[in-house]
Symmetry: D2
Subunit: 208 residues, 4 copies
Amino acid sequence: MSAQTYDKARTALLFIDPYNDFLAEGGKLWPRVKDVANDVGLLDNLRAINSAVRRAGIKVFIVPHRRWEPGDYETWRHPSPSQQSIMKRHTFARGEWGGDWHADFAPQAGDIVVKEHWGSSGFANTDLDMQLKQHGISHVIIIGLLANTCTETTAKYAQELGYHVTLVRDATAAFSHEMMYAAHELNGPTYAHAILKTSDLIAALPAA
Amino acid sequence: MSAQTYDKARTALLFIDPYNDFLAEGGKLWPRVKDVANDVGLLDNLRAINSAVRRAGIKVFIVPHRRWEPGDYETWRHPSPSQQSIMKRHTFARGEWGGDWHADFAPQAGDIVVKEHWGSSGFANTDLDMQLKQHGISHVIIIGLLANTCTETTAKYAQELGYHVTLVRDATAAFSHEMMYAAHELNGPTYAHAILKTSDLIAALPAA
Amino acid sequence: MSAQTYDKARTALLFIDPYNDFLAEGGKLWPRVKDVANDVGLLDNLRAINSAVRRAGIKVFIVPHRRWEPGDYETWRHPSPSQQSIMKRHTFARGEWGGDWHADFAPQAGDIVVKEHWGSSGFANTDLDMQLKQHGISHVIIIGLLANTCTETTAKYAQELGYHVTLVRDATAAFSHEMMYAAHELNGPTYAHAILKTSDLIAALPAA
Amino acid sequence: MSAQTYDKARTALLFIDPYNDFLAEGGKLWPRVKDVANDVGLLDNLRAINSAVRRAGIKVFIVPHRRWEPGDYETWRHPSPSQQSIMKRHTFARGEWGGDWHADFAPQAGDIVVKEHWGSSGFANTDLDMQLKQHGISHVIIIGLLANTCTETTAKYAQELGYHVTLVRDATAAFSHEMMYAAHELNGPTYAHAILKTSDLIAALPAA
């Protein structure tokens, strides 16, 4: 994996769920991720990658979870456990601070904001695959939360769809260290083409 | 979850990769799964479920992995680590014993044999979703191998597609106990609607 | 086809693109559809069906085209001819009257508003398939515009995905009569399970 | 469209359903297509394109319809009219001459034979999209039968998925001239990026 390189014309950054509820002090899920987040240096790493990929001319795709709205899931036959939890907690509520972009990671001009995903894959029920094709992308670098849910499921879909997939082990977090271990040591190595540290990823990016 | 019930007209069993290479003494991957398999009583449980669902009138869908053929993956831009491993070992080779059905789990008359999947999801690049719809299925019970790869990814896709998903914790196996733990204690509870033991599943099936 | 019946628990109305630009005097595309629309009695038929399905307890899914926004398609490698036309004309512009719902066909409480589609299929790059499953739907009745583009492509996708598909020949319109003929006499009969007149559809709906 | 060019590393030929039943004297559907086929010079054009794309180094994907087998569609809730017709006529029967490749268009070494499609889209329920990505393809040239069913639906899916789509008006056929007109004059111009004659396509191919 040390030889991994990225062609800026064919590589995209997929930034999963950069919401205050996940990433900011006061967010609904921050208390559950902050131990792991602090241990891996999450916020600094996300900022470093976010800057580095833009300097390198790599396209950024924001891949946001459905923002909760009144009525969501209520008529569904069988919402998943995660969706049932969102119904109770109103996670990522539309129009509220928790469902707004973290200030450091709001979309910038030229970014693609993909349609919101209802489950854990940023590809399922959205336009992500088509948008990647319409921008000539074959390689995706996936960062954001959670390592073992939305990030992993989006990454698995990317591989099934035919993309080259890079995970970044310290640019994500989870509710526990064992979930991080499951994502990067148990499952990631079966499907991901590269699993890098932030510093290695940045070193592998093309010059601007 | 104790209240989970199954309507035979709307429920299907998805049996993932019932190949000799996975399940039989002498299979290429059996040495890597047999410790976990023996600990959970895998083969007895698979046999019990296979019989019980048929008695209950529940439709069986066989969900097979791509059988390796010469040339597979060789022209692909970026086969995944699992696919690269298959290229080397010729796992599930077409026309060989390892890629044949385990004798106890071969398709029976009336079963649907879904198209072979190239990766870890039985839905990706196959006709599984359409076949389920054409048979009126809304609930899937997923058994077979491996707990944290094909079984989990097929199950996650099922949830994203709108199906009700049941995992069976002792009717699958993996290369290690920590992979089983990741599948059923860390990840499964985020997306699966029920995670049962074989005995509980059989008790919940409808009378014939 | 005279025997076609509909179970209200399993049937949905898919209403394609009920925008002012298509359906209202002053809309950008109304001048191109109005001859056919008037000849088939489009607006009266849409109103009749819209009322009748609601009385029958059938769920309504609004299936809207992407509302044009500044920048749309501009970075895409190859927008289609229809998309290039939208770039020029700003059809269905977000925030403008043309991209607002026709007053008679705005979503009502309990309706599902599906994600906007970028092309001509209401399923492609949206959550329509999953939403149908989460509401137990196996049969779709498809009305709205245009007969040979969004309506036909959505209907073809529905068939490929495993749904039962009903077209309504006088509850749609097109830019020419030969396009209507192509949709209902040449192509529809190859994939659609029923092609009805509005009056026959309403007669076939279940009592409330 | 005169300026259309093709990069051999990014372009694929999709050859739809090159079966004896469609293309050969004695085939089950040949009597229904032969008038149009002869008028456009179908077989000569297919042969010319098949040779020219290979000389140009363009990858060939064979996109075959499901070969009929006993039992097909019989347990389905609602096979389409085309599928019901296949049930009666055993069109493209597996193991029979009619379901074998036309002698001039059998797959050659290095071709990709995509999974068989059940309906009219070569993408639906198959691995075509993933195979195109794993071979770096962004542009597809679609030839074969029928112009207004499998060819058109495959082409529409390609556009929705984000590919650049070329139709070839005299390298396809249909049951009637008005179906050809519908495919190339009414519907094609809404979604296809180029609609060429065989001679123009061949002139636009890259040198070897």
